[in-house]
Amino acid sequence: MSGHSSWPEWVYIGVVVALLCYVGAEAWNIERIVEHVPADAEIIKVTGQQWLWTFEHEDGTKEIGELHLEKGKAYKFEITSKDVIHSFNIHDYVVLLDAVPGRVNTVWFSPTEAGEYDIQCREYCGLIHYNMRGTLIVEDKGA
């Protein structure tokens, strides 16, 4: 247009594209690794409903609002919903997945520290969405 040189713009675009490629490749690689579920993961069935969480262990025991797990073990959550879409979230362990009626979504994690962690709903689900909370209690059975 106005006869200025355009190489600085090309260099700049090159840098931006290179950064984006790096972010994309890294994200792809990490996601690939974290999605790999260990074979010995214990299954926990998670059901969201307005406005509480129910958990069912492999042995059939059920808990409401509280979830007791053991430190160091791997767990695979099978998440669904009875009514509207919720989102199952343990923020401290970056566990986040929607509870969708008519579907079962799975995600796995392994608690590394004994203690209590917040469980919350991260998808708007109506009146008591703000208080659709629970507690994850990680126990150290080995100690």
Partner: protein, 508 residues
């Protein structure tokens, strides 16, 4: 220019007019009114969140209704109409035609907005600005929800009609001496954003109808109990609304393409780069919609595809930023109010984009999704970039529209307070999201970090509130009593060279 309201006219003459500047004025006044109304709702929300426990809102349902109407109002009743306002003023002038291609259609598109706004405000629905099923089908209380659906339906039709009008005005009514390649970048902004509208909005229009019949029990598109799939709605919704974010941002970028060269007293660095970036964004913008849905249980492959599609759209935005900075570089810049807003806007645009890249990277989105991070992210765009660009342009156009000058000092105070407030509110919200606070919650447990950050955010919001009160006062006072503007050079920049599109409208 031909925009000023030469002599006072009775209001009904403007209301029943189909002339593009009159329709533009109607759009502008309506959109600013909704901006103040939607902003007021945000202040109520921030009062409530100032501390844990109930503050000013008695129950969560009211809170949920307020944030729903807040978001709906500011996106559909402020940003879209304010873009149409300036498009109406300037597109015909920029393509050197006497009016919009279809003046009556233009007035109709505007007059669909007040009834739609009334439906949304009188209904006061609670299902958030995206109305996901199954909540919206089986749980959201009517008639509010149904009124919202009808309101959005009307707004969708209105924006499709408006966009067709811009496209035809530009493609068919452009002066034969003016090649597309020489058309001002703001007109290019309207061309590209209108094309995106025409392609993107119909899916949402369809989804709204399906939602309505689902609510009536006549169908079960999104209801798993009737064999439907709620996730299908999310695809239809985001196929419209990811491109929609570009519909919203492109006009604001266009405003900055007017402001930067003018106040830098230098031609735009690269017209070609601006055009390329607009067109690129319009195309690539369609490849990213499901980045809003990583957490719905998509497969690894699907997530990867949409991550790549999202990242691919970033260079186009980066090109605009470069173009702005390179335009200012070495210019004799006059820091009047409009360019201050534009400079603030690109600073926030850049920060917002960086946060967007974080959201797009799949593993990181599981930290940020539906937390306050996302609220901070998109507000840096809708407020930090789009509102800043728009408000800067309101100041810029003020003398051309009213024939008077706004108060420069208060314009700058408005900017400084808004900028400080915006940084306080939306940067803090990013961090709050990293600490795990979900969005759309009426109350929260007294986790110390959450409490502290919410206080900072609420204070920032009130600083913005004060700045907007100053804005309102400045607008009202100056349009009645401001000192008459020098219509040839209201900002004292000297030299007509800096007003490239000002070639006289041949029909006036």
């Amino acid at each position: 220019m031909v925009l000023e309201l030469h002599k006072p006219r009775p209001i009904w003459q403007i209301m029943f007019s189909t002339h593009h500047t009159d329709v533009g004025l109607l759009y502008l006044i309506t959109s600013l009114a909704f901006m103040f109304m939607g902003g007021a709702l945000a202040l109520i929300l921030r009062l409530e969140l100032f501390a844990p426990g109930t503050q000013v809102i008695a129950d969560s349902m009211t809170y949920n209704r307020i944030f729903t109407v807040h978001g709906t109002t500011l996106i559909f009743l402020f940003i879209l109409p304010s873009a149409s306002a300036f498009g109406n003023y300037l597109v015909p002038i920029m393509v050197r035609y006497k009016d919009m291609a279809y003046p009556k259609l233009n007035a109709i598109a505007f007059w669909m907005i007040p009834p739609a706004g009334a439906l949304i405000w009188l209904g006061f629905a609670d299902f958030t600005w995206y109305a996901y099923p199954t909540y919206s089908v089986i749980s959201a209380p009517g008639p509010a929800a149904d009124m919202w659906i009808f309101g959005l339906k009307i707004l969708g039709v209105s924006s499709i009609l408006g966009s067709i009008n811009f496209i035809v005005t530009i493609m068919k009514c452009k002066h034969p001496d003016l090649p597309l390649s020489k058309m001002p970048l703001l007109a290019w902004a309207y061309l590209t954003s209108s094309l995106i509208t025409v392609v993107a909005v119909p899916t949402f229009a369809a989804a709204l109808l399906m939602l309505l019949t689902d609510r009536l029990g006549a169908s079960g598109f999104f209801n798993p109990l009737m064999g439907g799939d709620p996730i299908a709605y999310q695809h239809l919704f985001w196929f419209t609304f990811h491109p929609e974010v570009y519909i919203l941002v492109i006009p604001a970028i266009g405003f900055m393409y007017e402001i930067f060269p003018r106040f830098s007293r230098k031609p735009i660095f690269s017209h070609g780069s601006g055009v390329t970036a607009f067109v690129l964004l319009a195309l690539v913008g369609f490849a990213s919609w499901a980045h809003h849905m990583y957490a719905t249980g998509m497969s690894f492959t699907e997530k990867t595809v949409f991550m790549v599609g999202t990242l691919a759209a970033v260079p186009a935005s980066a090109m605009h930023t470069f173009n702005f900075l390179a335009t200012m570089w070495g210019g004799r810049i006059k820091f009047a109010t409009p360019i201050m807003w534009a400079v603030g806007g690109i600073a926030l645009f850049f920060s917002a984009g960086a946060g967007g890249v974080v959201n797009s990277a799949m593993p990181l989105d599981f930290i940020t999704h539906d937390s306050y991070w996302v609220v901070g992210h998109f507000h840096l765009f809708v407020m930090g970039t789009i509102l800043f660009g728009t408000v800067g342009f309101v100041y810029y156009m003020f003398p051309y529209i009213t024939g008077r000058m706004y108060n420069e000092m208060w314009g700058k105070v408005h900017f400084i307070l808004s900028f400080v407030g915006t940084v306080m509110v939306f940067f803090t919200q990013h961090i709050l999201g990293l600490f795990g606070m979900p969005r759309r919650i009426y109350d929260y447990p007294p986790i110390p970090e959450w409490v502290q950050m919410n206080i900072i955010i609420s204070i920032g919001a009130f600083i913005i509130g004060i700045s907007m009160a100053i804005f309102l006062a400045n607008l009202i006072y100056s349009s009645a009593k401001g000192k008459p503007a020098d219509m040839d050079d209201p900002f004292g920049l000297g030299g007509k060279y800096y007003y490239p599109y000002q070639a006289k409208n041949p029909h006036h």
